[in-house]
Point group: C2
Chain length 214, copies 2
């Protein structure tokens, strides 16, 4: 029979991933297999598979015989990801709106409500994804959804930094509320326009924020 039985490479991958996203391993960090293995209480073998997994997700770059380096995202690449999101997410939303039920709308609203109360970066990032994913899921496009998720994953490290800036959060919340209303009203065109604009503007704010931070 089936059993979930999370296998070590997956557990290890999850832990390393979270460390990268939390900023504990900034871009450029060299990850040593032995070190990770010892720290996570496994041998190097599962670590190697985890590293390959994370490399496939775009969080690492594997240099043969030289090790795994945490991927650095240039501002250009960051903007690129937002361009891709701006192309894909409105597509998902368009397909989803006709099938949106009370359940998803409620889930999205709950995420927004909590996001206004909470202040932890990791949690805010989770809620942000939950909001978006709830709206896209009814489209029933698994590949599209997981591609979008991967893009989110890749900007998440930087997202978390700006998610604690109050000005950004207020603007973002406002846009989210407007988007949700458009979805409720089944106004496909307006919703997808709002979403595209929301993504592009969030991208611009993030790039701006990172530029100033240096």
């Amino acid at each position: 029979m089936f059993r979930a039985s999370l296998t070590s490479p997956e557990r290890v991958a999850r832990q390393i991933r979270e460390r990268i996203l939390a900023g504990r391993y900034p871009g450029g960090t060299i990850l040593r297999q032995e070190e990770l293995a010892a720290e996570l209480g496994v041998s190097r073998m599962p670590v190697r598979e985890a590293l390959r997994q994370l490399a496939a997700e775009g969080l690492l770059i594997l240099h043969p015989h030289r090790g795994a380096v945490v991927a650095e995202l240039s501002l250009a690449e960051l903007e690129e990801i937002y361009e891709m999101r701006a192309a894909l997410e409105p597509l998902a939303l368009r397909l989803a709106i006709p099938r949106l039920g009370k359940g998803q709308l409620g889930e999205a609203e709950d995420a927004l409500d909590e996001a206004e109360r909470v202040h932890d970066g990791q949690r805010l990032s989770q809620l942000n994804w939950r909001f978006h994913a709830a709206l896209y899921r009814p489209a029933e496009r698994p590949r599209l959804l997981s591609t979008i998720e991967l893009l989110h994953l890749n900007v998440d490290r930087y997202m978390r930094m700006i998610l604690t800036v109050m000005q950004h959060r207020e603007q973002s919340n406002l846009e989210h509320r407007l988007l949700l209303e458009a979805c409720r009203a089944r106004e496909v065109e307006r919703a997808s326009r709002l979403l595209q604009q929301h993504i592009l503007e969030a991208g611009q704010r993030l790039v701006q924020f990172l530029k100033e931070k240096v």
Copy 2:
């Protein structure tokens, strides 16, 4: 210093990938590590990493403790991939057209010329990708390009089947020529409209073809 030194997992991944795309391992096939290892003259370890790589590419599904299964693409998923391509490729083309040089236009044209003479499925698939990639590359959006490449990879198995059907090829070549002309003339809007239409229609033809084949 640097050395290319293709590492075994990559070699192994490439070979398995080619077998999947060529139809030698159809969807649903269970891949046994030991068997692959023996056949490719390595131990199970590089095979495992290769399998993980291919799973990340979407060609396999890894079931913990139960093995790797070649991914089956339902017609719905196939259409989904074409929807994604129709969203992403016109974006890449728009960004690329202003920067298209003689080099890329020539490369694209060469690919079309050869595609009209050649009849081998694998080669045709290569040429088809070369044509598209040549037009997108000047956009200088590496993630966008590799995402598109991944989508191509995932439909390639089915593409190869229809690429030997003369009627499809003629239609496709015609559309490619029109697209190339629009690019030469720097008509961004027309070119991106042609491309989107080309992708959606190719997807429809493929779905139709596969439906009839059953």
